[in-house]
Structures are given as structure tokens and as C-alpha cells.
């Protein structure tokens, strides 16, 4: 169970990105995070693996207080949290296999990894994971030779190398065409269900939300404005989440 309690984030420049957000995610659930641009979705996800330090509040995963670990403990906590990104964030000039293997960096002997040596078992797993996301034949290509959809599959394979218990996905399909978007979402959903991985996935399109998520939370200007099943988002709820903003733009 992931527990977020009274989480707030104020950036150094004074921007209040999250205000007193609390929610729980049971293990193995696929939770979508929706909200307008700037509502704090990325901030929320990044607080969980501490790419951003929360200002106030607590985040717990099982017995670990994610919000307050530091140093070695933080690294050990991070390696159990996979993350995939809207812009894939692959190392373009490295081969696909190296990108995937880098998912093991939190586990392997640091000195050996720095010299490019990974245990044979990890290399085998990297190839298996590439097969699993359907691009086993691209292992030795440079990452920048792949298409967008293929890059995101590499991103998933890299995250899977971490043996993650949680998967954070920040708009994983926002730079892909609709057909590809569905195929990637399906893959993400299937794999995480198979491995019983808890997913937090920020999304912009409600049809994706309704099709793939078990539950939804919605943010508006950093506040949690909705928490429930995807099909509970009727027209009225939709207005709660997006309406105020829409009026202001319109």
C-alpha cells in the first residue's frame, strides 16, 4: 500500500504546486492521475521517487517513509520504483541494451558497472525484457535510431529491470499517436498486472483513463478534487476537474 499524507510542495520560486494531497493506493492497483496542465501531476509523481523533495507531508511505501529517506537508503528505495517519461528520457547515444541495463544500476557493483560490466544474468534479463515489450531485435541499435513507440518500450523495459514494486508513468503516451498510445498502455497494464506492480500514471485523455485504470485521482491547482472509479467521472465531475479552468480560458 502506498500512502500519501498531507503532501504539499512549494518550489523555491514560491509556486505552490501541491496543497495538502492525501490518498492511498493498494498494492497492484493501476491508478490514473488526471488534471489540467500545471495542476501538479508531474510534481506529485516526482515526489514519490524523490526526484523532487516534498515540502510538507509524508509518503509511505510499506514500512519505508519515502518522503524522508536520504543517502544510501534513498538509493535503495528508488531502485524499487520504476519510472517512465513522456519524452522517454533514454540516453540517445547509448545502445538500447545499455539503456535497459542501466535499470540495474541500483543493484549491481558500482565499480564494475562504471567499467561497463554487468552480471551475465542481468544481460540475459535485459534481453528477456526487450523480448517482452516486443523489440528484442533492436537490442544493439543506438537508442536514437528507434521510433517514438519503440523508445517508450525501451523505457518500460528499463523500468522493469528494477524489479519495481511501484511504477510511475508521467504521461507515457502523450507524444505518441492514438493507435500506438493504446498499444503501449495495454502493454503497460498487462505487464504490471502480471508482475503485481502498483502503477501511478498521469494521463490527459479520459478514454485512456477509463479503459486502463482501476481508479482515478484528479488534481486541480495542486489540490485533490476527485478520487474514485473511472466511470464515476460524469459530466458534472468533469466540470469539477476541468470546468473552472475551461471557463477561465473561454
Amino acid at each position: 500500500m502506498l500512502r500519501v499524507k498531507n503532501l504539499s510542495k512549494i518550489y523555491d520560486d514560491g509556486t505552490q504546486a501541491l496543497t495538502d494531497v492525501s490518498f492511498n493506493v493498494p498494492q497492484g492497483e493501476f491508478l490514473s492521475v488526471v488534471g489540467l496542465s500545471g495542476s501538479g501531476k508531474s510534481t506529485l509523481l516526482r515526489c514519490i521517487n524523490r526526484l523532487i523533495d516534498p515540502s510538507v507531508g509524508e509518503i509511505w511505501w510499506k514500512e519505508t517513509q519515502l518522503s524522508h529517506v536520504t543517502g544510501e537508503e534513498l538509493r535503495r528505495a528508488r531502485r524499487k520504483i520504476g519510472m517512465i517519461f513522456q519524452h522517454f528520457n533514454l540516453v540517445d547515444r547509448s545502445p538500447v541494451i545499455t539503456n535497459v541495463l542501466s535499470g540495474r544500476l541500483g543493484y549491481v557493483n558500482p565499480m564494475a558497472s562504471v567499467f561497463g560490466r554487468f552480471p551475465a544474468s542481468d544481460v540475459k534479463r535485459a534481453r528477456n525484457n526487450l523480448d517482452r515489450v516486443g523489440i528484442g531485435d533492436k537490442a544493439d541499435n543506438r537508442a536514437d535510431e528507434l521510433s517514438g513507440g519503440q523508445k517508450q518500450r525501451v523505457g518500460i523495459a528499463r523500468a522493469l529491470m528494477q524489479d519495481p514494486e511501484i511504477m510511475l508513468a508521467d504521461e507515457p503516451v502523450a507524444s505518441l499517436d492514438p493507435v500506438l498510445a493504446h498499444s503501449i498502455m495495454r502493454q503497460l497494464k498487462d505487464i504490471t498486472k502480471e508482475d503485481n506492480i502498483t502503477v501511478l500514471c498521469s494521463l490527459h485523455f479520459l478514454d485512456l483513463v477509463q479503459q486502463y485504470s482501476d481508479r482515478v485521482i484528479a488534481l486541480n491547482e495542486g489540490k485533490l478534487v476527485f478520487e474514485g472509479k473511472p466511470d464515476e467521472i460524469d459530466d458534472e465531475r468533469f466540470k469539477d476537474i476541468y470546468g473552472k479552468e475551461a471557463e477561465r480560458i473561454g
Binding site: N49, T70, L105, S113
Partner: protein
């Protein structure tokens, strides 16, 4: 936006006034600049100066590149001293050549003689010589000539001396012309030798400079550094650990090298065998370590201690091995140097490298151990402070900060004392250290012990500052200082250029690190990678092309700088060029300038081509 709007609102009158004001100020600045830089017209238009300038330019235009094969052809004509009653001319023919001398005698040194030649080699220079009677060894030059397109010439001259004899005296008309290039002039040979030295000087400076600049550039990159925060106690533990680690590392290395260089084993072959055995042992230990920890099982404290012990053992054995290798290298290098003929420099290099290791290792290894100790101490300090309850962590923080401040102040005081040699050093070292320690401890009691200090940002700022300072002084200035230390010559040049290269590349490189895309770095951080892994997996792949490009660019600059660094005593082509100019040997100087132009131009072209391809 707001500012723009305001500007546009300026009334036309105001705007015109402002333009005039700017124009007046600019005029004043330039007028003063012209006066201050002593620009004038008298000096350059002075005929004497112009003449000298033209002479220099003409010399420069005829670089002394080659030596030539020469052909000489002479013929004699007689002259009488003094003149008899009848004054007539005389004519001599030899083959196609005819020489006419009129008159054919002199009585005083004022008598003007006319010499005409026909049928000589066209457009050829020659000289006229007199063989004074009774004086076999010397000749006196009378005049020189140059034939026209038909091979004719006519000159007038007077005799420098008159020595009456009964017999006619001999005058020789000699033509001299070049039939072909026989080889390189001495200037060219020196130029070749020195330009090679220049290129190698730049190569060494660039290589060493780049190697040193790479790690520095990571420390000087804001995006990598600014997120590092540590509690004060961790920072202070690191400060305490540095000198301790340094002295321990240096002493142990010294001890090991002394043990290895005792009289016990003097046979070079046995030393070599020992070194090889030690290296195999180190390799085995490292292999064992990698295979044991690579399976990804969570580390226990026991594992950690075993790894550290392994590392220490491997390090000690490596130093031992290197100490033996160093001795072998000294002997073997010396032997090669005297037996390898012109390849002897290989042996020299081997011997020098061995010597460098044997002398430099304690300091360098001490420094490295200091760094390792720093990193362990800061990690340990951080874990302790963050792990302890508030009260105890505050006490720990106060104690450690007190000691740390004292060490820091003592270090600074000792350096100052070393530099200025104060009368009573304890006023600068121990007393301020104790005072500083107490102040630091008291101050720390009032701040939250677990607060993170922006130590990364502070380090970044200091390193950047130092780089900027070093970079702002030209290598030509450094070389003067280094020439004092290591003597005039290319070695001083290498050191000056290296220093500047480290600073310049350190800054350029770190800016490249700051320009990398954050995404991959974020992704690698999210996998739980540590700082070194992040650099290796997310930063280095992104910076390889610009690093290569900047290194080439720097090598290009260094070649250019090394051509002038000799003017400051740094060896290379600049040194001989300055000599040639000072000795007014402009034709030699011209050869050197051509060589510089060719080398710099070629390198410029090659490096820009390679850079264009990489980026």
C-alpha cells in the same frame, strides 16, 4: 516588456538628444584612445624608418629556405702600378667572354678605372678581385657587377691601395650562379626541429590538460553539483578526514616503497617476477570482489567490511607491485637508453616514468586516500547525524564542527605562514585554530544539526572561480614563472600551457555538462544509481562529442600559443624565432614564420573539419 514600452514612449527630441550624447561620448573615448596608444604619423613616415622597414620586408620576402649548388667562372686581366708614360686600356678574351679595362693602370687610389665585359652569362652577379703582389693568401674585393640580358656589364671602380711593381698585377673577374638546390639551409633545419618540438609541446599540454580537465569539469558543472547537500557535521568530517587520509596514505606509500626498494632484493629479474606475481594477485582479488558483489543481493555490514578490506589489500599490493616495476623500469630504461641508438628516447621515457612514480607516488596516493577518506567520512557523518535523535546529533555536530573549523583554520594559517614566514607563527596557526574551533562549535549549537548545507553549490562556485582566475592570465605569463622553476625550455612551456589548458577546458567542458538534456539524467537517477554511475551512464554519453571537439579546438589553440610561448622562455619555435629577430636575421625568421603559418593553418583546417563531422 514593460521596459520596451517605456523606451518607445521617448519623445523624438529626447531620442535625438540621446543619440547625440552617445555619439559625443564615443568620439571622446576614441580620441583619447588614439592619444593613449601613441598613434602618430611622424614615426611611420620618417624616411630612415621607412628604409629599414623596407629592408626588413625584403629580407622577409626571401626566406632562407635552401642551400644551393654554385658554379663559379673566372678570368684574369692585368693592371699596372704605377702607370707608365703612355696610358692605354687592355683587353682580354677567353672563349666568348671579353673583358676590357681602361685605363689598365693606376697611380693613385683616386684614379677611376672602367671595366667592361661582353659575352658573359646573362643576368648573373659577380665580383672583381685584386691579388695584391707578394701577398699570396689574401685578395681584396674591388667591386661587384651584374650582367644584363645580353651578358654585358660595365662598372667603374678605384683601387683601395697602390703597390708599385715592375710586373703587371692580377685582377680577377668572377661570375657566380646557382645551378640547383643542394639541401635545406641551416635555418630550415632548425625550423623543422623546433616546429616538431612545438607540435609535441602542444600535444603534451593538450593531453595532460584534457585528462585533468575532465574530472574538474564535473565538479564545476552547476547542474551536477547544486543538488548536493550535506549536514554541517558531514562536511566537517570530510574536512577533518582529508589531512588525516593524506598523511596516512603518504606514510603508508612511503613505507611500502621503502620496503620494496631496500637492498634485500636487488636482482632486477627477481624484482620483475615479484611484480608480476603481485599484479596477478591483485587481479584475482578484484575478480573475486566483482563476482561476489555483482549478484545484486542487498549488502550486509559484513559484506561492506569485506569489500573494504579487499580494496585495501589490492591497493597495498598494487603499490608494492608498482614500486618493484618502477625499479625495474629505471634499470631497464637506462639500459635501453644506452643500447637502442636513436630509439634511446623510449628507454629515457621508461626511466623517467619510473622515477616519476617512485618520487611522486606518496604525494599522489596520499591525496587520493585523502579524497576517499573524505567521501567515507562525509557519508558516515551524514548517516550518523541524520540517524541519531536530535539531542545527540546536535552534540555530535558541535564537536565535529569545532574540530573541523580548527583544522581548516590551522590549514589556512599554515599556508599563510609558509608564504610569509611570520615572526611568531603560533599567532597564525594554533591560536586562531583554537579560537576558530571554539567559535565554530558555539555557532553550530544554534543551528539545526540536520539542516543540509548547499556544499555542492559552494564547491561549484569555488572551483569555477579558481578556473576563471587561472584562465584570465595568459600562458605567456605563466611560462616566465615556470622558467624560473624548471629552467628555460620546452618543459616550462608544457607546464604553462597545461595549466592554462586545464582551466580553459575545465570551464568549456563544464558548460557542456550544463547543456546536457536533463531527461536521461533524471531517468538514471530514478533507477537508484549513485553519483558516479549517473555521470558515467547519463552524462558522459552526452558529452563525448563536444569534449572531443573542444579538445581538438584546444590543441589547435595550443599549437598557436606554443609558437609564441618561446618568446617567454618556453622553448619551441618561438624561442629560435625571437633569437633570429633579435640578431636581425630576418631571412631566417621568415622561414620560421612560414613554418608556423603552415602548421597553424593545417591544424586549423583539420580540426575544424573533424569538429564539423563530430558535432
Amino acid at each position: 516588456m514593460a521596459k520596451r514600452g517605456k523606451k518607445e514612449q521617448l519623445s523624438p527630441g529626447m531620442s535625438a538628444l540621446r543619440t547625440v550624447l552617445i555619439a559625443v561620448i564615443l568620439f571622446l573615448v576614441y580620441a583619447f584612445a588614439v592619444q593613449d596608444t601613441q598613434i602618430n604619423l611622424e614615426e611611420p613616415l620618417d624616411p630612415r624608418r621607412q628604409e629599414t622597414t623596407i629592408r626588413v620586408l625584403r629580407a622577409l620576402a626571401r626566406p632562407n629556405l635552401f642551400t644551393f649548388n654554385e658554379e663559379i667562372r673566372g678570368m684574369d686581366i692585368n693592371i699596372r702600378m704605377p702607370c707608365g708614360d703612355e696610358i692605354i686600356g687592355s683587353q682580354v678574351s677567353l672563349g666568348d667572354r671579353t673583358t676590357t679595362l681602361s685605363p689598365n693602370c693606376v697611380t693613385t687610389t683616386q684614379d677611376v678605372l672602367t671595366l667592361r665585359g661582353e659575352g658573359f652569362r646573362p643576368n648573373t652577379s659577380g665580383i672583381i678581385r685584386w691579388y695584391p703582389p707578394g701577398d699570396v693568401s689574401t685578395t681584396r674585393a674591388l667591386s661587384s657587377f651584374r650582367t644584363d640580358g645580353e651578358g654585358n656589364f660595365e662598372i667603374e671602380f678605384t683601387m683601395p691601395d697602390v703597390r708599385p711593381t715592375d710586373e703587371p698585377q692580377r685582377i680577377e673577374v668572377e661570375e657566380k650562379w646557382q645551378t640547383g638546390i643542394s639541401g635545406l639551409s641551416e635555418a630550415s633545419q632548425i625550423t623543422l626541429e623546433k616546429i616538431t618540438e612545438t607540435i609535441l609541446l602542444a600535444l603534451l599540454a593538450t593531453t595532460v590538460g584534457t585528462i585533468l580537465a575532465i574530472p574538474i569539469s564535473f565538479i564545476a558543472a552547476r547542474n551536477l553539483m547544486e543538488n548536493f547537500g550535506s549536514p554541517l557535521a558531514a562536511v566537517m568530517s570530510a574536512i577533518i578526514a582529508l589531512p588525516i587520509g593524506y598523511f596516512v596514505g603518504r606514510s603508508i606509500t612511503n613505507l611500502l616503497i621503502n620496503m620494496a626498494t631496500t637492498e634485500l632484493i636487488t636482482n632486477t629479474f627477481v624484482q620483475l617476477v615479484i611484480a608480476v606475481i603481485l599484479i596477478i594477485a591483485v587481479w584475482a582479488i578484484v575478480q573475486f570482489g566483482v563476482s561476489r558483489t555483482a549478484d545484486g543481493e542487498p549488502e550486509t555490514t559484513r559484506d561492506r567490511i569485506v569489500s573494504i578490506l579487499q580494496f585495501v589489500l589490492a591497493a597495498i599490493l598494487s603499490i608494492f607491485a608498482l614500486a618493484y616495476l618502477g625499479q625495474v623500469g629505471l634499470v631497464f630504461g637506462g639500459w635501453l637508453e644506452s643500447n637502442l641508438g636513436f630509439l634511446g628516447f623510449i628507454g629515457g621515457f621508461l626511466a623517467l616514468a619510473s622515477e616519476f612514480f617512485l618520487i611522486g607516488a606518496p604525494g599522489i596516493i596520499g591525496f587520493l586516500v585523502g579524497l576517499v577518506a573524505m567521501s567515507y567520512a562525509s557519508r558516515f557523518g551524514q548517516e550518523a547525524v541524520l540517524g541519531l535523535p536530535d539531542g545527540s546529533s546536535r552534540i555530535l555536530s558541535v564537536v565535529v564542527t569545532g574540530i573541523g573549523t580548527a583544522v581548516l583554520v590551522f590549514g589556512i594559517g599554515s599556508s599563510l605562514n609558509w608564504l610569509y614566514v611570520f615572526d611568531n607563527p603560533q599567532n597564525w596557526t594554533i591560536i586562531p585554530a583554537i579560537a576558530g574551533g571554539v567559535l565554530g562549535a558555539v555557532g553550530t549549537a544554534f543551528i539545526a544539526p540536520k539542516r543540509l548545507m548547499p556544499i555542492g553549490f559552494i564547491t561549484y562556485t569555488i572551483v569555477r572561480g579558481i578556473l576563471n582566475l587561472i584562465r584570465s592570465i595568459e600562458p605567456l605569463v605563466y611560462v616566465i614563472a615556470f622558467a624560473v622553476w624548471v629552467g628555460i625550455g620546452p618543459f616550462a612551456g608544457v607546464m604553462a600551457l597545461t595549466l592554462h589548458t586545464v582551466a580553459a577546458l575545465g570551464k568549456l567542458f563544464s558548460e557542456q555538462v550544463e547543456n546536457i538534456s536533463e531527461g536521461p539524467l533524471e531517468a538514471i537517477t530514478a533507477t537508484g544509481a549513485n553519483a558516479v554511475q549517473r555521470v558515467v551512464f547519463a552524462v558522459i554519453p552526452q558529452i563525448v562529442p563536444p569534449y572531443i571537439a573542444f579538445t581538438l579546438y584546444r590543441w589547435d589553440i595550443n599549437v598557436r600559443m606554443s609558437t609564441i610561448i618561446g618568446f617567454g622562455g618556453g622553448g619551441g619555435i618561438g624561442f629560435v624565432l625571437s633569437q633570429a629577430i633579435n640578431l636581425l636575421r630576418y631571412r631566417d625568421a621568415a622561414v620560421m614564420m612560414i613554418a608556423i603559418a603552415i602548421v597553424v593553418g593545417t591544424l586549423d583546417y583539420v580540426s575544424s573539419r573533424v569538429r564539423a563531422r563530430i558535432l
